[in-house]
């Protein structure tokens, strides 16, 4: 009897208690109960009462069962009358939950349609998922100063207080885009264009993760949405559109550029990068990678992450500095990008040394028969340590 009560209490702990404690004690970056934008707020406002009602009903049921256990335990009482039920009571108890749900249904309806609006968009960003990273592509929108398309990956940068619409699609399997603090998730389905509204109230970084199982490195396919104030966003746009600055002759970085041209440019595009003969270097990921795309590295060091946001470009201390900056300072800190002192050299070098070892991918040449020899993910390039030194130096210039 006592045990059963404890059981009932456990039941409460599982569903109900989280509702009361949820708002005060947590700091998990993907908490679904801490909306940071109007879309997520809409969802939160809808779900909190539902959780509360569900908790209360759970308590009532558990209490009723507990009471019955205590009250009607066999203490030698006679076998009771064989009653078969009371229809009136039954119907009442059927109608009450139906009514509760009807009320919930009405509110649900409204929120569903509000969240599906596409006619009040202020900024459109194309988002393309592939195994196991996201590509962000800002189509030309002169009102935002985007006069030529910007292609980025790893971090989605967006202005604060703006109705951003993501047009999602995928290049291979189904992925799902999810920034819990800004909105619910929406699948990126190959062959289809789906929309997702995002809007952030304050500058900052909002974490998310791919939530549709997408193969080996599903767990490592993360995303971060960076909200900047409008001025900072304009600066970011200008920075992204800035012309390519080749490294100075004779530097380590210049040698790195030629390593890049030999190796990396097969898949990775750097806008404005020219070959020795003066022609533009055009990456050909379509010939080497199954998804036909690899992250565009033009302004790599303006981002904080690499390899599908699995690794940080910043050392932990520098990263914490950016993540925990208050709204006023955040923009400046973020736009500072990555410099040599803050660069997370270890992870970057490990990645360049042997990418499939640190992130599970289909890069084993023996298993590529089904893809006509194309990789799924970055292969082991077999770079020498000095090549890696040069490359790191070069990558640091991509800012």
């Amino acid at each position: 009897m006592m045990k059963s009560r404890r059981l009932a209490l456990r039941a409460l702990a599982a569903t109900g208690a989280a509702a009361f404690l949820g708002s005060c004690a947590t700091n998990a970056p993907q908490d679904t109960w801490q909306p940071k934008g109007p879309n997520a707020k809409m969802i939160d406002d809808l779900q909190q009462p539902v959780f509360a009602v569900a908790g209360i009903i759970g308590i009532i049921v558990a209490a009723a069962v507990g009471f019955a256990i205590w009250r009607y335990k066999d203490r030698g009482q006679p076998i009771p009358e064989q009653t078969h039920g009371k229809p009136a009571l039954e119907i009442t108890l059927t109608v009450i939950p139906a009514l509760i749900l009807a009320v919930v249904g009405v509110f649900t309806f409204r929120v569903i349609f509000d969240l599906a609006r596409t006619d009040d968009t202020q900024l459109v960003i194309n988002v393309t998922g592939q195994q196991w990273w996201w590509e962000y592509d800002y189509p030309v929108q002169n009102e935002w100063g985007i006069t030529q398309p910007i292609i980025s990956s790893g971090q989605l940068v967006m202005p604060v207080g703006t109705k951003v619409l993501l047009r999602e699609t995928s290049r291979d399997v189904i992925h799902s885009y999810w920034i819990p603090a800004l909105n619910g998730k929406r699948d990126a389905v190959p062959g289809r264009v789906h929309t997702l509204r995002l809007e952030a109230d304050a500058p900052g970084i909002y974490a998310g993760q791919c939530t549709e199982f997408c193969g080996l490195s599903h767990a490592n396919m993360r995303m971060e949405a960076v909200a900047l104030s409008n001025e900072d966003f304009a600066k970011w746009v200008a920075g992204q559109q800035a012309a390519y600055q080749p490294p100075a002759e004779g530097t380590l970085a210049k040698e790195g550029e030629s390593v890049f041209l030999n190796q990396c440019v097969r898949c990775h595009q750097v806008e404005g990068l020219k070959r020795a003969d003066g022609t533009l270097a055009i990456a050909a990921p379509d010939e080497n990678v199954w998804s036909g795309a690899a992250p565009n590295l033009t302004k790599l060091m303006s981002r904080n992450t690499f390899a599908g946001a699995m690794f940080n470009l910043l050392r932990d201390a520098c990263r914490d500095d950016v993540w925990r900056a208050d709204s006023a300072e955040f923009g400046a800190k973020y736009l500072a990008g990555v410099d040599e002192t803050c660069l997370n050299v270890n992870d970057l070098r490990a990645w360049l040394r042997n990418a499939p070892e640190v992130k599970p991918m289909y890069a084993n040449p023996a298993l590529l028969a089904d893809t006509n020899g194309k990789y799924r993910g970055m292969p082991n390039l077999g770079l020498s340590e000095s090549d890696i030194d040069k490359l790191v130096a070069y990558l640091l210039t991509l800012k």
Binding site: R167, H194, N296
Partner: protein
């Protein structure tokens, strides 16, 4: 414990396992042969088990010397199969496979017959034993084979004659069947032999027709179509192409969430895209990813939409899905069919190279509508 039957099967199983081991060691591992031999072995072991399990039904002590051995077709069939096998080694694999099938079938029949003949003293019962074991496999196999031959012959006849004649022949054959059936039904006094004779004549006729049809080959338009790939032409001009534009689709069912809808209205092209309030003149298409456009024609004339695929295409790489990649690939464009007013069609295109690698901008145009183009930007 071990009696004649089980000894035979045990011996066979041993032989098969020896073969399998030898095959794996000397020939190759886990190829078709290995699988087939393993299956044979498994089957033999199973048979052995069954035979032992059911005790073969006979004890050795029973007199069996008076059992008569009947004439048998199966040794002959085995030889035929072996000949096919040898032939197959020389000529073509198909005979080899056929030979294996015939040999196996004949051996199986032979084994069962031999076994059943010594099963008991009573020939009638022996025969019924054989039937109980083999009829379940003989009936369906013979029926399926017979049916297959008739059906295949019939289809060869249909393939050889012209399209309209085909429908007529089809009708005639069916009517004949129906009429013959009705006739037999209405004349119950007809002799069974006559009925059988008519059926046999019919079957022979169809098979003969089939052989003749196979000799003739495909009718001309089919042969041409097969050779020329009629429906693969992509002549993306204003004019109607003979096969490709035959009966263009008027509706496009169940298609949603495309990249852009390209509308032709009053001689103007525009792209409607979700998220953009205004119709656009420029579309961003993600690189190396199949993108789908819907073309809607609101003009009176029949129109088609043409997507240029860029110069880099000619350099090689994968041909887009919509072209065959043969002689038409160098045009580097693909298109919808000519569609009338109010109709729509989808076009799925894959741009492998970015716009910067192209000599000229990638576009969506409509032949016959001058000065209108939607630029496709591929980052």
């Amino acid at each position: 414990m071990f009696k004649v039957g089980s000894k035979l099967f045990l011996g066979l199983s041993g032989f098969a396992s020896f073969n399998l081991v030898a095959y794996i060691i000397f020939v190759e591992r886990l190829a078709i042969g290995g699988v087939a031999l393993s299956m044979v072995l498994a089957a033999l072991v199973g048979l052995t088990a069954i035979v032992m399990l059911i005790n073969e039904g006979d004890s050795e002590s029973q007199p069996r010397d008076n059992a008569l051995t009947g004439a048998s077709l199966w040794p002959l069939m085995t030889v035929v199969g072996l000949m096919l096998l040898v032939l197959g080694l020389v000529v073509a694999q198909i005979y080899f496979v056929l030979g294996i099938v015939v040999v196996l079938a004949a051996l199986a029949e032979w084994l069962v017959q031999a076994w059943s003949e010594s099963a008991s003293d009573d020939p009638a019962h022996n025969e019924s034993a054989r039937q109980r074991l083999l009829h379940p496999i003989e009936f369906p196999v013979i029926a399926t084979l017979g049916l297959g031959v008739v059906i295949f012959s019939f289809s060869r006849v249909m393939l050889a004659i012209s399209k309209s004649a085909g429908a007529v022949v089809f009708m005639v054959v069916a009517s004949l069947v129906l009429l013959a059936g009705s006739w037999f039904a209405l004349r119950p006094a007809l002799k069974g032999a006559l009925v059988s004779a008519i059926c046999v004549v019919g079957a022979v006729g169809i098979v003969a027709g089939g052989i003749a049809g196979a000799g003739v080959g495909l009718r001309t338009d089919l042969a041409e179509a097969a050779e020329e790939g009629h429906y693969l032409h992509r002549e993306c001009g204003v004019e109607k192409s003979k096969y490709f534009d035959k009966k263009a689709m008027k509706t496009l069912s169940l298609r949603s969430n495309v990249t852009a809808i390209i509308e032709l209205r009053n001689g103007r092209l525009s792209a409607v895209m979700v998220g953009f309030g205004e119709p656009q003149q420029r579309v961003t298409a993600s690189r190396a990813n199949p993108v789908t456009f819907i073309f809607r024609n609101f003009d009176e004339a029949e129109r088609r939409m043409v997507a240029s695929l860029g110069s880099a295409m000619a350099a090689g790489a994968a041909a887009p899905e919509t072209t065959e990649g043969d002689s038409h690939a160098e045009k580097n464009e693909t298109c919808t069919q000519l569609i009338p007013q109010g109709a729509e069609q989808a076009l799925t295109v894959k741009y492998d190279k970015p716009s910067v690698a192209q000599d000229a901008p990638l576009t969506l145009t409509v032949p016959g509508v001058a000065g209108q183009a939607i630029e496709v930007f591929v980052p």
